[in-house]
Structure formats: C-alpha cells, structure tokens
C-alpha cells in the first residue's frame, strides 16, 4: 500500500484553515531574495528562523489552497534546466564538478578579522546621524574652517563608532563561536560503501547521509529510505518553524533500498534552485530510467530532528548557506515609530533654525567686514597682512564673499548640535532599556509555558502608548487553541452531562499492552451516561452507534501516538502528535472513553478498544483539503469488512450524507450543532458507510491510478475522494471547546475603557464568532448588532446604507446612545474592500464600538488593517498567533505575535511576541504609556538641551565681531552632549514613571493621554522652544551684564556659562522628573559633579588658555550669585506655567499622581500623613 500523502494536510475543523493554509502560490519571485538582515541591534540567532517571507503581494493568494494541490500543480510545470540543479546520488564529485555548490559550512557572522573594520564602518555610516557627524567633522578639518581642534572634533563621532563597533564585534564573535560549533558537528556519511563520521562543514551535495532518531539534520536532503518498511519518517521542525508536533515525511517507494551502493549509481535528482520556501520543494528523481516526482513531503530540512524513526537515509541536495533554513535567516522588517516620524518634522524645523542662525551670523559678519574693510590690515585683532615672508600678503583672507561663505560653514560647525542628531542614538539606547524592562516584566511572563515577553523590533516601543485600534485574531489569540472535547451528539442523542468523572478510578482510562500500562497524556472528563452505555450496551443498537462514533474519532485522523517514559517503568504515557489541535482533542476524547489509538504505521493502526487490542488496516486516506472541508479514511476492520469514515465541517458533510435515511437523526444533529456553535464550540460531523467488495475494488483501482499519476495527482485524488464520500450515514457530531485564554474578558474590558477599539478578525463561523464575542465580553447584551452578510456588491451596498442609518440614529438618539457592534463576514468583505464601498464601511466601522469579522482570509485581515491605516492617523496594532495573521501583523503599525500552539511564523513577523492575550493590557496600558511618555519627553528635552547651548554660543558670537569664537572651551562644547548632559536624559527616558503600574491598570482611561498625543505635540514643541529662548538669554546675559566692563577673561566667563548651562539643563530635567529613584538621583547629580570635574580637569592643563580660570572664578562672589540667579530666573516661567496648568487645567495624569500620593487620605484616612495638610 503506497501512501503518497502530501505532508501538510489534516486540518479538520470547521474552523479556518490554520497554519497549513499559507502555501505560497509561486516558487519564484517573492522568495528569491536572500537578504540577510543587517539589523545591528539584534543578533540573529540561528534558532530564529523559518518564517515564510510574506511579501505585501504575491506570497499569499486569497484562498490559496493546501500544500498538496499547489505543489502538485507546480509539478505539472517542467523544471527548466537553467532553474534547476542536478544531483548525482552518491557521487559528490560529479554532482559538484560543473557547478561548485556551496559547502555545508554555515556562517551567520557578518565579519572576519579583515573585513570587520571596513564593513562595520560601512554599515554604521548607513545611518544619517553618523553621516551628519562625519560631514561636520570633515568640514572642520579644512584649514579655513577649523573651529575645533582636530582631536576634539572627531571625538564624539569616534566614541559613538567605537561603542557600536565593540557591540557589533561582540555579537559577531558569538555568532562565529556558534557557527564553529555547528560546523564541527558530526554526521555519518557514506564514503566508499561504508558510513563514516564526517564534520558537517565537509558534507557535499550528492553525498548520502544516514541519521538516527533524535539526530539533527545537517542539510536539506531528499529522503531515500527509513527504518519503516514503507518509508515513513517523522520529523520535528521546531527549529525551523517552531511547531513542536511531528510531521511525516516519506521516502519514495523506488528508493527504499537505494543506499545499498550498487543500486545508487546512475540515480539523479533534478530539483529547483535553492529558495527560501520551507513548505515547497519541486524535483524529479531518475531511478532506473524511471521518473519519480519529488515534493515537499520527500525532503527533510536542515535543523529538523528525526523522531520516532530509528534511522533514515537521505541524499544531500542543498548545503550550507543554500539550505532553506539559512535562506530564511532574516529578521523582521523594520517599522518606524509614529513618534519618530513626527519628530522628524520638528527636526526639519530645527534645521531651519540652524540655517537661520548661521545666516544671521554670516550676514552680520559680512556687514562688519564691509564696514571695517579699510581697517582690516591694521586692526591688531584682525591684521589681515602677513609680514613674516618676503612678500606681504593676506593671511587667511579669501575675499569678502568667501569670508561670508566660510563664516556660514563655520557657524554650521559651531551650532551643529542644534540638530540633535545624537538624539537618534540616545533613542536607540532608551528603547533598548525600555525593551529590557518589558522583557523582564513579571506580569508579562507566562508561568505555564515559561515564556517571556520578546521584543523583536526595537523601533516602535513608544507606539505602544498611542494605539487606537487593536485587530485580534481569535483562535489561539483570544482562545488557547487547546481544544477540549466537550459534547457528543451520537446518532441524534446529545450527551452533554457533567464532565467531572473519569473512567474507572481517578487515573482515567488506561490500556495494558505487553505488560505495559499505557495512559493518554491528557485526561479528558467523560460523560457518565455514555460510559455506562459503552460498558453495558455492547450489543444494543445504541451501543453499536456509539462504537462507530468513537472508532471514527480514533481512526479518522493523522495523529501519531508517541510513547513517553514515565518514572514508573511499567507505565508509559501516550502523547498524540498531530498537526490539528482538533484532531488531538478528538483522539484524546476517544482514548478517555476506551478507544485508545496505540500505534500507527503507514499501513495500519492499532486501537485498544475497551481492553481489546484491534488492528485496522488503513487501506487509504483522503486528506483534508479546504474545498471538500472533510477527510476520510478507508479501514479494513478485523472482521474483514471495509468501512469508510468521514469527518468534516457541517456545511459540507450534510451535502454528502444520505438524507433519506434517519431524517429525525439528521434534524436532531443539526439542532445539536446549532446549540454547540452558539455556546462557542467548534463542531465536526462524522459520517460513515460500509463498502462492498465491488465498491472497494473500484475505489482501489482509481485510487492507485490517481496516486501514481504524475500529472494532476491532487485533482485526481480529490475526484476519487468525492466519488467515495457519498451516501454516508450519519454517525454523530462533536463539540470541541476552544477555551478562552485566561483573563481575556477582563483584558478586553480594560482595552475598551482605554478607548481602544478592538476588532476581532476570525476565520470562524458567524455564530461561533458571536458567541466568543459574548464570552469575551466584547459583545454585551446592551449593544445593537449590525450584521452584514451578503454575497453581492449591490446587497452589500444596501446593507451598508441601512446600517449607516441605524448607526446615525443610535448615536444621536437620547443621552445614552446604545453601543453598536458590527458583524461582517469575509464574503461581504470581498465585495467591499478595494471598492468604493470601503469609505462607507469605514464610516460605519468608526461608529461601532466593536467590529467582528468572521470567515476572513489572511489577506483580508491585512486589507481591514489597511482600511483603517489609510484613512486615519490613528495607530493600529495587530495581534495573532498563526501564519494566517502574518500579513496583518506586518501591515499594522505594531504587530504582536502570540507564541502559542501554532508555530512561530506570527512571532517571526512580529515586533513583539508574548504568550497570552491578556499581556496586551500591561503592555499597552503600562509599558506603552510609560514608553510614550518617556520618549515624548526625552525628544522635547533633547531639543531644548541642545538648543539652549547653541543659543548661548550664538549670543556670544554677536559680541565677537561675528567670528564664531566661543568663550566656552572647545572641549566643553564637545563634551556637552557626550558627558555633561547625556546620561540623565537617557536614564530618565528609561526609568521615569509618571504614574504607578497600579493606577494605570486600574484606570485604563489614562491611556488616552497617548492617544491624544499629550506628551509630544506642536504646542509643546513651540512652548519648549520659547522656554529655550528665555533660558538661553538668562543664562547668557546675566553673566554678560554682571561682568561688563571688568577684567574678566574669556575662559573664565566661558566656564561660568558652561557650568550655568549644564546646571540649568540638569535642574530643568530634575524639575520634570516625577519619580525620583536613586538611579535618577545618581545620574542627575552625578552629571553635575562630572561636569564640574571635567571643567576642573580642563582648567588644570597649563597649555590651554583657560588655565586655572575656574579657581579664580570660584573665589569671586559674583560667580556664585550669577549661577544662582541664572538657575532661578530661567526656571521661573516654566515653574509658574506648570503650577498654573496644574491649578487650572490639570491633566488626568497629574490628578492621578495626586491620588496616588494623597489618595488614601481621602479614602481610608490611613495613618500615613503626607505633607499636604494646608489645602485640605
């Protein structure tokens, strides 16, 4: 019995097709780019691989179908020679002679010792910030423009470069190390007819490798044979796509004995060029002049682990960097945060300021030069002429026009930090710190799976604080995707009794095989009535029907039982591995009732039926596809009858069930199904019929013909299946509960209170979706539901118009408008999205508190996200767990992957990954709020901090004949943004908390401050700039006026200005800090102390002009008076404004801060007395 199943099948629920649905439609184009990510802030570990690159188009076709059909349809197309590679089996020399295929050594590292410097520098200079620094530094090297000394001018840039290079180098060293370990692993390779150990890096294309159970596969190989006589091998792909269940791979019948050397000569494999599609493979093998087609089920990929199969042999087709896992080794695409985009606008304004300042200086310099043009030669402080040489010529004077031009460039150098380019670097550091705290947050750490929050992208942290729309997947995101069998409807009888009892004793049902006790790994509660019937009514009609039902559950699936050892040697646990959680639930349920699947090979299954071990021959299997939405298995029973069991979605099953028989059973089952789905259960219908030997023979011949067909195999198989699956009699139906995740209703309630609109996009049926909506508190009975469920453009248009009228009424009627809920299905969306109806849908949706989209395809999910993104500036967040959510995760402003049951594709595409939906609440309401508030403040503060310094320099330039000399020492100018003021802003950006976690969680409305952009907006920017102007004037003019007409020297007053500005800027920050922890204390006061130390160090170097200036200055009373006056006078306007706002227009955050501090006095009269007595 040949089984040539395609590998990804078995999606058996009535639910959306899940992980297997994302078969790429084409093998070329969208998968051909092999970008290795160069994101320097994140190490790409070799483990984090395996995402299918879902381009914005192409990769997924709406409604693209199962792996079987698409890969088969590809096989119809001949592989052209130029697109293929030819592998001579067991002949690596010949395989590699024409084209040098890559060796099997991998290198995930970016640099080696020689290339490190140039390549790292090259990559670093991809950032605008560094290029700006570099240009300024280069300008400064021109002798005409040398404002700063050589060394001082390159110090900031070189420090940043050095820090980044050290970090990159360290990461790369770790990659080198892991590569080396990886490359030196051993595998047994067939050399000269014996298997020898060989290092992975020496493996070549064409070699035959043998590997045993639990071996990691070193390269991509075509399976030749396995320990199973039919050629089945089970592999675990957790390293590839994160899915922990076992997948079946098949060796071709023709190659089962090929590793016996004499047979392998002359066998060639022709396959496609290496590509990154881990679910696709296309090739043919020529064995004995016979063409055998190869599909994705015939290859095993590097990184997979062989399981449950004692050995397997394969031939290497792709090696090293050309393996699919390595080609997929790229990071998530980068998004840019909303706040940063907003900030760039203000940076452009700042560059206009910069140009304006420079223009003013150069124009005034031009005027000054013109007015004094006759005196330039003789002025002692200009003296244009150089008399030292033979000829008297001009020294450093290039004509009036050029002088103006040079003055302009010099002023750009002097005022360079007006554009706070270092802010980009600070922002990255702050995000790194914020990510650290998000990852470490205990409240976002799932205890049961031990998985922490993951930050995969580092540039959208602050967007988390401004989200307005959440698009959520349902299965696996709101629910656990851990299916639990709940209700059975068997032949029209509903068994839904209490599920508390277990079969027999509390240990549950177990089977004894060869002295071993076998127990299912997961216990399922059983219905007492059903158990009683099973035990007693063996010969009754009901007993038979129940027997058939559970036999269907236990057999009609692709589950592989795996025995696990327990502490007790006589006892083993059976773990049912399979790709569909629904199937697992059904098999566990069957086992709990005594129908325990014990063994599966490709030819037969063994089921322990109530203690009686029975062997069923699996004569054939028609796997699930999303056209039929059902699967069937043909069983040869021990009593040598042949039966076909079918299970599938109700919609398609009732079409193939013989309605003439048992009419009342069918109606009863239908009503049970309705009842099940309205409490949110996923339903499946089971049917069966016996086959006469004639029917069986007829089926077998057509089945064999179809499986052996080279062309259109999938289509033929489907036809065979459809012919077989007719006139079934109903067996029963099951209701499987997909439990809501813990805390989902509370989380949704919090999000709603935070004024975040939650949209659920699901592939489920409308009824299931609505019932989940109710149980998750998304829908309440107080809401008016608008349901749009049409299948033509016109009817969609009509219902949209009606709905809009309803919505207008609802929102305008009375003072307590009813909340609206929109429920729309995928078919309607087909007509609405990308048409003129989109606008109406948007209008309607924006009026609705809740939107539920059911029966949506993956690309439609992205389309819905774009519907909002294209029309508003509101930020969107998409959260999902499956491959079908990847498109929306990538499209939304923030994408979150749930690392749950369904593999890692969603996680790979996401910006953040977490284990549970409810973590969204702390993530958004707490971390998002903090991140936004911190980042917004930090940006404004950095603008201020740099501008105030630049303006102080600018005012001084007006007193130096516009010649850009600075009283502030050049070292201080350079160190200002590196040492004097940089640390506190980063620390505050990471650590300051405006409100405590408790308040933020208890009052989700506080999230509104981010949505309303309260921490960063145009008004704040201009206010900050006005404040900056005032503060710079105070800081500059108080010393100027105090030391006017004295013998003060430039260095001394420069020191005064330096200290004044640094004190001022740090105290300004201190005034705005809300939560003073010791770290913030240390950073702010530490910076001030560090500044004083630096100024002192600079002033004890005798060859600098300012030698000893600070000591002379500090001995003078006016210095201290100036310093105090500057700080007080500069901060008064800001302080007054803060006080007035707090008195007259307090923000929610301020009030909540007061509640935090004084709240319990109001409430409980706690013993803790605060210092707020007077106003009470």
């Amino acid at each position: 019995m040949t089984s040539d199943h395609s590998s990804y099948a078995a999606e058996m629920s009535s639910d959306e097709p899940k992980s297997a649905d994302l078969q790429p439609a084409s093998s070329g184009g969208s998968f051909s780019h092999r970008s290795i990510s160069s994101n320097t802030w994140r190490a790409n570990s070799i483990k984090e691989v395996g995402v299918i690159e879902l381009g914005s188009k192409g990769g997924v076709r709406y409604g693209s179908r199962k792996g079987g059909s698409s890969s088969m349809s590809m096989s119809r197309r001949e592989i052209r020679d130029e697109d293929s590679r030819l592998v001579y089996v067991n002949d690596p020399v010949k395989s590699n002679e024409s084209l040098e295929f890559a060796g099997n050594s991998v290198s995930t590292s970016k640099y080696n010792v020689l290339t490190f410097l140039p390549r790292n520098l090259f990559e670093q200079f991809h950032r605008v910030a560094y290029v700006y620094f570099l240009i300024i530094a280069i300008l400064n090297q021109l002798p005409q423009l040398a404002v700063f000394g050589r060394f001082a001018s390159i110090l900031p840039l070189s420090m940043v470069l050095l820090v980044t290079a050290v970090k990159d180098g360290y990461e790369d060293w770790r990659r080198h190390r892991s590569d080396r370990i990886e490359n030196n692993r051993l595998s047994s390779v067939l050399v000269n007819n014996t298997f020898e150990q060989k290092k992975w890096k020496d493996i070549q294309v064409g070699e035959i490798i043998r590997f045993s159970a639990n071996d990691t596969i070193p390269c991509d190989m075509v399976l030749l044979s396995t320990s199973d006589p039919t050629g089945v091998a089970y592999i675990q792909t957790i390293n590839l796509d994160g899915e922990s269940n076992l997948k079946t791979r098949y060796a071709k019948q023709e190659t089962l004995r090929i590793h016996e050397v004499e047979k392998s000569s002359g066998v060639t494999i022709k396959c496609e060029k290496p590509n990154r599609n881990i679910y696709g493979f296309l090739g043919t093998m020529e064995v004995d002049h016979k063409q055998v087609s190869l599909g994705p089920s015939n290859i095993v990929l590097r990184g997979c682990v062989l399981k449950n199969t004692s050995w397997a042999v394969g031939v290497v087709v792709y090696t090293g960097m050309e393996t699919k896992v390595m080609l997929n080794n790229s990071g998530a695409q980068s998004k840019r945060s909303h706040l940063e985009a907003r900030m760039n606008r203000e940076i452009i304004i700042l560059s206009f300021f910069l140009v304006a300042l420079c223009s003013i200086v150069s124009i005034l310099a031009g005027i000054w030069l013109r007015r004094h043009r006759d005196e330039l030669d003789i002025m002692p402080f200009y003296r244009r002429k150089d008399y030292s040489g033979e000829d008297v010529d001009n020294y450093k004077y290039y004509g009036w026009g050029m002088e103006i031009f040079f003055t302009f460039l010099m002023s750009v150098i002097v005022f360079q930090i007006m554009i706070p380019i270092a802010l980009y670097i600070s922002m990255e550091l702050v995000r790194l710190g914020q990510a650290y705290f998000m990852i470490r947050d205990d409240n976002m750490c799932d205890e049961s799976t031990n998985s922490r929050f993951q930050c995969r992208a580092l540039n959208v942290n602050e967007d988390l604080g401004q989200i307005k729309y959440v698009f959520s997947d349902k299965t696996g995101t709101l629910t656990e995707n851990k299916m639990e069998f709940q209700f059975a409807s068997i032949f029209g009888v509903d068994y839904n009794g209490e599920k508390t009892e277990f079969y027999g004793e509390q240990g549950g049902y177990y089977a004894e095989v060869d002295g071993l006790i076998l127990k299912p790994k997961m216990k399922v509660g059983v219905d007492g009535e059903l158990v009683r019937l099973l035990k007693t009514g063996n010969d009754t009609n009901i007993g038979k029907q129940i027997y058939d039902f559970f036999l269907a559950l236990a057999s009609c699936n692709t589950i592989v039982p795996i025995l696990e050892d327990t502490s007790n040697t006589a006892e083993k646990l059976i773990d049912y591995q399979g790709e569909s959680p629904d199937e697992q639930a059904l098999v566990y349920a069957a086992a709990a009732y005594g129908f325990m699947l014990i063994e599966r090979t490709s030819g037969h299954i063994v089921i322990d039926v109530l203690g009686d071990r029975q062997r069923f021959n699996v004569l054939g299997m028609h796997e699930f596809d999303s056209d039929r939405k059902r699967m069937s298995v043909i069983l040869g029973c021990p009593d040598s009858t042949v039966k076909v069991f079918v299970k599938g979605a109700d919609t398609t099953m009732f079409n193939v069930i013989d309605k003439s028989k048992n009419k009342d059973v069918i109606t009863a089952t239908e009503s049970h199904l309705h009842a099940y789905s309205s409490v949110g259960l996923r339903t499946l219908v089971m049917g069966m019929r016996g086959l006469t030997s004639q029917e069986f023979e007829q089926w077998r011949s057509s089945y064999e013909a179809a499986t052996n067909a080279l062309m259109g195999r999938a289509r033929l198989l489907r036809k065979v299946a459809i012919n077989l699956e007719t006139n079934l009699s109903i067996v029963g139906a099951s209701g499987i509960e997909d439990k809501l995740q813990q805390g989902v209703p509370e989380a949704i309630e919090s999000l709603r209170m935070a004024n975040i609109k939650v949209w659920v996009l699901t592939g489920d049926k409308q009824e299931t979706a609505i019932s989940i909506g109710y149980s998750s508190k998304l829908l309440t009975s107080k809401m008016t539901q608008i349901i749009i469920n049409n299948n033509s453009t016109d009817s969609c248009k009509r219902s949209l118009e009606d709905a809009l009228i309803v919505s207008r009424k609802a929102t305008t009627s009375g003072e307590n408008p009813r909340l609206l809920a929109l429920i729309i299905d995928g078919t309607s969306l087909v007509y609405i999205l990308d048409s003129e109806l989109e606008e109406q849908l948007f209008e309607l949706a924006s009026k609705c508190a809740v939107v539920l989209c059911c029966r949506v395809a993956p690309l439609q999910k992205a389309g819905i996200v774009m519907l909002i993104k294209n029309r508003t500036n509101d930020l969107t967040l998409a959260i999902g767990d499956g491959a079908n959510d990847v498109s929306m995760i990538q499209k939304a402003d923030v994408g979150i992957g749930i690392s749950g049951q369904e593999g890692r594709q969603a996680v790979m595409a996401s910006d953040f990954a977490m284990a549970q939906f409810r973590f969204l609440v702390p993530l958004l309401l707490v971390h998002g709020h903090w991140n936004y508030q911190r980042m917004g403040y930090m940006i404004l503060y950095n603008f201020y901090r740099n501008a105030v310094f630049v303006l102080v320099l600018f005012w001084y330039v007006l007193y130096t004949a516009f010649t850009l000399s600075t009283a502030i020492n050049e070292w201080s100018s350079v160190l200002y943004s590196v040492i004097y003021t940089s640390i506190p802003t980063i620390v505050v950006g990471i650590l300051d908390k405006d409100l405590s976690r408790t308040s933020l969680l208890n009052h989700p409305q506080l999230y509104g401050s981010g949505q309303k952009q309260e921490s960063y907006n145009g008004t704040l920017f201009w206010l900050t700039m006005a404040d900056t102007l005032w503060q710079s004037m105070v800081a500059f003019f108080i010393p100027l006026l105090a030391y006017r007409k004295t013998d003060i020297d430039g260095s001394s007053i420069g020191d005064l200005w330096t200290l004044a500005v640094v004190f001022l800027v740090n105290l300004h920050l201190a005034m705005d800090v809300t939560t003073w922890t010791w770290i913030i204390h240390a950073s702010i006061w530490g910076s001030i102390v560090a500044t004083i130390i630096c100024v002192i160090i600079i002033d004890v170097i005798p060859i600098l002009p300012g030698y000893w200036a600070i000591f002379h200055l500090a001995g003078d009373g006016s210095f201290w008076f100036c310093l105090i006056a500057i700080i007080v006078a500069s901060l008064i306007p800001r302080f007054v404004l803060k006080t007035v706002i707090q008195r007259y227009r307090p923000s929610d955050i301020q009030i909540m801060g007061e509640v935090e501090k004084f709240g319990d006095l109001n409430e409980s009269g706690s013993a803790e007395i605060e210092m707020n007595q007077p106003q009470r």
């Binding site: 030292s388 750490c445 000399s965 408790t998 969680l1001 208890n1002 430039g1050 009030i1151």
Partner: protein, 359 residues
C-alpha cells in the same frame, strides 16, 4: 486603594503597591520556575522612589524662599556697589586732536611727543587699594583670528620656542621665531601712567602681582626670554625687556589673558594709599597705543573694590527684581489657593468623571 470608579476592572495581576509610589513587593512570593529570576524591584520598575508633587504649600514656599534669599542679597550687593568709588577718564581723544588720519599719523610716528597730562578729581574718599585699570572699547580681544594667534607651549617651555605655527600671521620675523609669538603678544598695550596728587607728591603704583599667580607659576616660563619681539616691519604695540623672563613680564601676562568682551579693563597696577575726597590726581601718561585706526577708545579707570568686586549695580538689581517677582507670585498663588482651592487628588476632576459617558 484606588477609589470611586465603579467600572474599575479588577486586575489580578497588578502588583500591590502602596500609594507612596514605592511598591511593596511580595517578598514571600512563591518560588517560581527555575528559569524565572527572582522578583527584583529594579526589573519590575518598582524601586523605592520619591514623587514630589506641586502642592500649593510647596509652590508658595519655593517662591517665598527665593524672595527671602534674593532680596537681602540684592540689597547688600547694591550697597556694596554704591560704596565703590570709580573714576573713569577717557583720554584717547583728549590727548590727540584732529581728524582720524591725523591721529593715526601722530600715534604711529616715532618722533612725536606722546606725553599727555590729565587731572582727575576725586569726589569721594577712596580707600586703598585703589586699582588702576585701562579700559579699551571696541577692541575685539575675543576675535577668532586674535585669540587663536598664540602659542601656549612656547610661552611655557624653552624647548618649544619654534612651536609657532598657531601664531600666524605673527609667527616669525626675519626668518626667526618670535618669542612670544602671535597677534595677542604682538598687540601688547603700552600706554603708561604715573600719578601725583595736587601737592605734587608722587603716588606710587605697585605693578607687582597684578597677574594671576597661576599664570606666573605655570603658564609663563621662568626660563623663556623674549626674542626677536616687535622686530618686523609692522609694530603692533609694546616692547618687552629681553633680559626678563616671561613670567616676570606681568603686563604681558595680564594682556594675554584675553578679554571676554570687546569692552574690557585690564589691571595696570595698584595704588596703595587712601585718597581723600576733593583731591585732584594728576596723571602723566604716555599715549602710545594705537586705537585710532579702528576707532577704539581708551579710558583710564581708578576704582576701589568691595567684597563683590567693582562698581556694578546689575547683580543687586537683578536679585531685587527676581526676589520681588517671586514675592508677587507667592502672594498671587496664596490668594488663588485661598479663594479657589482645588482639592488635590480628587478623582472627580478626572476627565472621564467630569463628563460621564463621554469616552
């Protein structure tokens, strides 16, 4: 602990936290999974913290504190400034008459007699020490070309005599390095003053220690002697005594501490006797320094000092202004808080409680 909002969802995962902001960690938290690190206040961002809030009491106290500190400082510094006696005499135009070119010609000529006599009347008793400054106006000692044109290495180390590259265009003359090089030294101020009282008794000027001790000790070498100075065709200012090391040339040391602003004073010397009010001081000065060619002004300043330095009312006025302003603000806020107090931390002020239903 949080109050009043009926719709507050219970969140079981919020850590218990006291209202002071410092969370009270559950120190006896159950032993967690092995991979999971211990509860740490740091990683949970629950470090003990102080959360200052602008309560009316704090605001008013802050303003009052500033008032109380600033007004007395302002008054005392105004008084101090008032006690300082300062005599300023602009002499550049008084000593040379004529058009600009005539003045320039006069000052540049080697032969003209540049001696000039001025008499100053002391209006108020001047207590010793009386500082004698010269004040230059419109002289950009902070000009970029000028401040850069010096070699601090050369001034300090004998060995660095030829380290003159930064001194251009006054780095060498006649093929030899100039010591001290650069425009700053080259333009050394060289007017001299001598004082006598009306009864013709000479007033001694002490020119010792008019420069910073640190400069004499470290910045100017005791073994570096002037060399080749003012030897080029274009002479900028004063000459130096080539037999004295640089660290004893105090006029040069003072001059080379370049001024911050285009109007500046430099110490010339000290008169160490008191001068009574009503006395007239006769000043005999050698008016050699050329400020005429660029319309600079030269003034002679005699000034006593107070504990706060010279005569300058600015600090006093500024302190009084700031102090007064803060007093005004303090009273304004007191009135505001008394007339219309806002209950701090009253949840009824929260936006969603002010207009219920309006999300």
């Amino acid at each position: 602990m949080m109050n009043s909002n009926p719709s507050t969802p219970m969140n079981a995962h919020a850590p218990s936290s006291s209202s002071g902001g410092a969370g009270s960690p559950d120190s006896n938290a159950p032993r967690r999974n092995s991979k999971r690190p211990k509860y740490s206040r740091f990683t949970q961002q629950e470090l003990p913290a102080c959360k200052p809030i602008l309560t009316p009491k704090w605001v008013i106290s802050a303003f009052m504190l500033v008032t109380i500190v600033f007004i007395p400082i302002g008054l005392t510094s105004l008084l101090a400034s008032r006690d300082v006696v300062e005599i300023i005499d602009r002499y550049d135009n008084a000593c040379v008459q004529g058009s600009k070119s005539q003045k320039v010609q006069h000052i540049q000529s080697q032969t003209t007699n540049k001696t000039c006599v001025r008499s100053l009347t002391v209006t108020k008793r001047m207590k010793q020490p009386i500082y004698v400054y010269y004040q230059l106006d419109n002289f950009y000692q902070n000009h970029r070309r000028y401040v850069k044109s010096r070699s601090d290495n050369q001034l300090r180390n004998l060995g660095d005599e030829n380290d003159t590259s930064s001194c251009k265009p006054e780095n060498d003359a006649n093929g030899m390095s100039i010591v001290p090089c650069g425009l700053v030294a080259w333009s050394l101020f060289n007017d001299t003053y001598s004082f006598s009282t009306s009864n013709n008794s000479q007033l001694a000027i002490n020119k010792r220690h008019i420069s910073w001790k640190s400069d004499r000790d470290e910045k100017f070498g005791s073994d570096v002697f002037p060399k080749n100075f003012q030897n080029s065709s274009f002479i900028g200012g004063g000459r130096l005594n080539e037999s004295l090391p640089l660290n004893e040339q105090e006029d040069l040391i003072v001059w080379m501490r370049t001024a911050a602003l285009p109007t500046f004073r430099k110490l010339y010397g000290k008169i160490e006797v008191d001068i009574e009010a009503g006395e007239t001081i006769n000043v005999v000065l050698e008016n050699r320094y050329n400020t005429y060619s660029f319309s600079g002004k030269k003034k002679l300043v005699l000034s006593t000092t107070s504990w706060l330095g010279g005569k300058n009312n600015f600090i006093g006025i500024a302190y009084l202004a700031v102090g007064g302003l803060c007093f005004l603000l303090a009273t304004t806020f007191t009135i505001i808080y008394l007339v219309k107090p806002r209950h701090l931390g009253d949840p009824n002020y929260l936006s969603w409680n002010r207009n219920p239903g309006g999300h």
